[in-house]
Symmetry: C2
Subunit: 298 residues, 2 copies
């Protein structure tokens, strides 16, 4: 039986773009529900400036309150040295560092050039490793940029090669704005495998244009080590305010379960968690499983 | 460049499960908008009993009002001899006959056994051909049945072989209730290709559980001749009342356009048509393209 890791990113990317800001207790409950679903890796918090991203405030309090066990790994998003310090202090199990694939998005979103972001990622991954914490580097906007449009897979391939120099535990390829198609997944997987053959690939998809699940299933086919998804499919897209967000964990697990792919994650627990989260965010749930029900019934 | 036929089924399957019933003029306008999008095959009407399916009433009036041209083929759904007579009288270009893959769904939905439905399909396809009209046979519930659950691909394979005896122009494999996954598409394509190697395959997907687009792209990969989709993704599912319907034409064309697959259909015209149809049905649009916008922008 094939197997893949689900990285539950609901507590981080799922909440980051929602208008409502959850209480610390609700954030902890979302993480507890993620653990209860069977997810073994959870992107739990972001150590960004809470003035810039108020939805992500209270990362330290959240991490102080989550249940700890050897079988669950909590990931903190960090963008700079200050973020890494906070993450280590809060005892995350992994860090995820972001490098944007295009110059314009990098400057607008991270406030630095791509070169500066790569250098920062090297430092963060090395310092995290020295502290016993695994580091992922995510290449954002790898499938397309809201400012500069198409992104050449060769550009992503070059970035992969440069990132690989610091030997991260994983490289994640992210369709940040949800424009990708399976043909791109195949091309990016090829260039990444060529330029960093020994580094596992993680993938991050949004369903903004209804291609997210096709992309995820294709990523699995070409050897994905891990796939991001978010309970309920919350998360939205800052560049298309009416659009939906991350691919939903429960809908992805439905497809995996029926395809004979083992994740160890229970779809029904996710559906319940999404119902609870929809209530907490006062929003309708983008995922379909809760409405449609599983199959076969019962 | 790869190519595939889009069969626009919005006027038939898209409207069939909606609560609102469109006027004859609106039905004709939807077909005109489908033609304007560049669709070359349009499932325009259903010759079922209007007492059983009021949404499909007025098929004759609709067909009398649509623009005719050599480059567009109008398909009428028929279930029996009476339906075929009406379809020929109304001058459809093609007929689509349905056989359900499972005994229980066949008896409940069509009021006949699978054997009786196969025999009827043979007669209809032969009589239509004698009248110069091409016939497709659709195998409904080929991916799963709302009553009997899992459907063995071998059962579908046997049905394909029996249907092939009447040499239809096309066999369509339909995920009527939206439970399928790409692994099933591959298996069904294999058995259908083995049992009817010379008959083109058409596929019909619903996005009820967010697997529809992945299924469609997989069908294309394994040699689909034609794919059904519906403007705006309307259509719903009678077995999951809150769920969405057919895969949306505009979202499918987005994926095809970005994958280098030629259909000759214009996504922007479809988005406009979906906006109009959402107004006519007084319903929000399941498709995502209208909300998210295309890519690259402009």
């Amino acid at each position: 039986m094939a197997a893949v890791q689900l990285v539950e990113v609901g507590p981080r990317d799922g909440l980051q773009n929602e208008d409502a800001v959850l209480s610390i207790d609700d954030k902890i409950e979302l993480i507890e529900r993620s653990v209860a679903s069977g997810a073994k890796r959870i992107e739990a918090v972001s150590f960004v400036n809470p003035k810039r991203v108020p939805q992500m405030a209270g990362a330290e309090e959240v991490m102080a309150g989550v249940p700890r066990s050897d079988s669950v790994s909590y990931i903190g998003l960090v963008l700079n040295r200050r973020g890494l310090e906070r993450a280590l202090e809060a005892r995350v199990d992994e860090v995820n560092v972001v490098v944007v694939a295009t110059e314009e998005f990098s400057r607008r979103n991270q406030g630095c050039s791509v070169d500066e972001a790569v250098a920062a990622a090297h430092d963060i991954v090395r310092d995290a490793r020295a502290a016993g914490v695994a580091g992922t580097v995510t290449i954002a906007a790898a499938f397309g940029c809201p400012f500069s449009g198409e992104v050449d897979p060769a550009t992503v391939g070059e970035l992969v090669a440069r990132i690989a120099e610091c030997e991260p535990a994983e490289i994640a390829l992210a369709d940040t704005i949800g424009v990708g198609v399976p043909a791109q997944v195949r091309r990016l997987s090829e260039v990444a495998s060529r330029n960093a053959p020994n580094i596992p690939q993680r993938w991050h998809f949004h369903n903004t244009r209804n291609t997210g699940y096709a992309n995820a299933l294709t990523a699995l086919e070409v050897g994905a080590h891990a796939l991001d998804a978010s309970i309920g499919g919350f998360g939205g897209c800052p560049f298309a305010p009416a659009a939906t967000g991350n691919i939903a964990s429960e809908d992805l697990i439905y497809a995996f379960d029926r395809s004979g792919v083992d994740t160890g994650v229970n779809m029904n627990v996710l559906v319940e968690a999404a119902t609870w989260l929809g209530g907490a965010l006062a929003k309708s749930i983008p995922a379909q499983l809760g409405r449609a029900g599983g199959f076969p019934v019962g």
